[in-house]
């Protein structure tokens, strides 16, 4: 998996985040200076400790941040060349960016199938078409098919994560922002999820920006990666370069101590 992105770089990145600062409640700094690019067809990982600002970065991109009383105070975010700062999340979904929030966040009082339907409404398919698309998702995520009538809140963590991804895919995205898909899941499930992500990327050309604490599994599947700490991007490079760095782990762990946690509110 060493298709070094530099060699195939197209004229325009899919997503470019440039020097973004996010402030919550006008006073609390979310991230200070983050720059990230995702090229078409890439899986890019954002690595960092708990509270480093990964989620905030993704929320800033998807517009969710501003629904939580946060503002992008500096920098710009471009998607396919267009500035998208400050656009509401549902509009960004229409423009093919979808965010799978941390902690899965399925609609727990809806059945699995209703969750998927909710994802598909965005494109207003006819009923037949909607059913076909949902079947397609079941093909990708066969575990869900057996549970289609179950309330989402009653399914396992792994199933919920798959559901969240499946639901997001039904919006027909070009870019999926995937926040901590491994959180609280058994390694074997994490592995399964990342393999599905890779396949989706390969076969359907969906790009992913994945925020992860789990370095190994994410770098194994990503093309490139960024390490962020204290709200700043501190390292970047291809997945293999990063994985090869002896000091990565120290870097990552060492930063955790510097993190003045009270100034950093995770939303």
């Amino acid at each position: 998996m060493n298709t070094g992105s530099d060699t195939t770089k197209p004229s325009q990145p899919l997503l470019s985040v440039d020097g973004v600062e996010v402030v919550y409640d006008e006073h609390i700094l979310g991230v200070a200076d983050i720059s990230v690019t995702v090229n078409p067809g890439e899986i890019v990982a954002i690595l960092g400790a708990n509270g480093a600002g990964k989620s905030t970065t993704l929320k800033a991109i998807s517009g969710i941040a501003q629904t939580e009383r946060a503002k992008i105070t500096k920098g710009s975010i471009r998607f396919k060349g267009d500035q998208i700062n400050g656009i509401a999340p549902h509009k960004l979904a229409k423009r093919n960016i979808v965010h799978v929030l941390e902690g899965r966040r399925v609609f727990s009082h809806l059945t699995v199938e209703e969750n998927l339907k909710a994802g598909s409404f965005l494109r207003r398919p006819a009923r037949r078409e909607m059913e076909r698309r949902i079947e397609e998702i079941y093909d990708w995520l066969p575990r869900l098919r057996d549970k289609r009538k179950t309330l989402a809140g009653l399914t396992s963590g792994g199933e919920q994560q798959m559901l969240a991804i499946g639901r997001a895919l039904l919006t027909q995205p070009e870019l999926v922002l995937l926040d901590e898909p491994s959180m609280g899941l058994a390694p074997i499930i994490v592995q399964e999820i990342f393999e599905i992500v890779s396949r989706l990327n390969r076969e359907n050309g969906v790009s992913f920006l994945v925020a992860e604490q789990n370095i190994h599994v994410s770098l194994a599947h990503a093309h490139r990666g960024y390490v962020i700490a204290n709200g700043h991007a501190v390292l970047s490079g291809s997945a293999s370069e990063l994985a090869a760095r002896e000091d990565l782990h120290e870097f990552y762990l060492g930063l955790q101590e510097e993190d003045p946690s009270e100034t950093r509110q995770k939303a």
Binding site: A93, L101, F107, K117
Partner: protein
């Protein structure tokens, strides 16, 4: 024994009228977490609008239709002007805003459409029916059937339609709903509109019973204990809560009232609700979850 059964049945039927008001409340709370005190004012506004259109010479169903349109427009205005700017504020502020909204709606309703009591004839007779020796109000019976139809209609709306599923999605997790492209502002407009239409139906029922005037707005106070018993987020709870309050109130007024001098209805429902709270702090159908207020 006949007195007991009659009181019980009468109370249960009357209780559905409380349920109707509570349902409008539940819809909004569930979808947006807003404790909407102005539900009573909405009820007043809709009933006044309906009466006004009737007086202008429209026949019944067209008038109902026009009123619905007015209520939908009103809901959209409320969402844009009041709720959207207050999104993500704490629940207290939102509650206070609905208090302010109550004044606004009441002032507008009475200022525009007059404050005198008006007759609203929805074609239901308040006759007595006898079932054996037991007297039942025809009006209440029909209203109860109507409420059942409404609840079924809402259930179908929520489980089968796209908007209904989206509504439930927003109620479950607004941020996740937004992230998959659901426009929550539009959903709020729809919820308020549905609640306003439910308000119109309860306004018609209450208005037919007591005439259309300001006191319709006070009906909201009857809905709050219903919510406690039923939980703030369950339509089923609103129905069951309404029935319990209706029956409890009627039995208390008949059996307990004479012991303490009567007139106990305004607080009895609340005390009943309190008793329920001790047994089950989140209402019969509410869900345990950490609340931060």
């Amino acid at each position: 024994m006949i007195l007991f059964v009659e009181t019980l049945i009468g109370g249960l039927l009357a209780g559905t009228m409380y349920s109707l008001v509570a349902i409008g409340f539940v819809l909004i709370f569930k979808a947006s977490g807003v404790f909407n005190y102005s539900q009573g004012a909405l009820l007043l506004f809709s009933a006044l609008a309906l009466v006004t259109f009737l007086e202008m010479g429209l026949s019944f169903w067209p008038a109902v239709l026009v009123t619905m349109v007015v209520m939908v427009i009103l809901s959209i205005i409320i969402e844009r002007v009041v709720l959207r700017p207050l999104a993500n504020r704490n629940v207290m502020t939102l509650f206070m805003a609905t208090l302010g909204l109550t004044y606004v709606i009441e002032g507008a309703a009475q200022g525009l459409m007059g404050s005198e009591v008006r007759l609203l004839d929805i074609g239901l007779e308040d006759n007595a029916l006898f079932w054996g020796d037991i007297l039942i109000s025809e009006f209440d019976l029909i209203v109860a059937c109507g409420a059942a139809v409404l609840v079924i209609a809402l259930a179908i709306f929520f489980s089968k339609t796209r908007i209904g599923i989206s509504l439930r999605a927003v109620a479950d997790d607004a941020a996740a709903a937004q992230s998959i492209g659901i426009n929550i502002n539009r959903i709020w407009q729809i919820v308020w509109a549905v609640a306003a239409v439910v308000g119109l139906i309860s306004g018609m029922v209450w208005g037919a019973r007591q005439g259309v005037a300001f006191s319709l707005s006070l009906v909201v106070l009857k809905a709050l204990p219903v919510l406690i018993i039923g939980g703030f987020t369950s339509i089923m709870g609103a129905i069951v809560g309404g029935l319990l309050i209706g029956a409890g109130e009627a039995l208390a007024e008949t059996y307990l009232g004479p012991l303490v001098g009567g007139g106990i209805t305004p607080w009895f429902a609340y005390v009943l609700a309190l008793a329920f709270l001790f047994i089950r702090p989140v209402g019969l159908f509410g869900e345990y979850k950490v609340e931060r207020v």
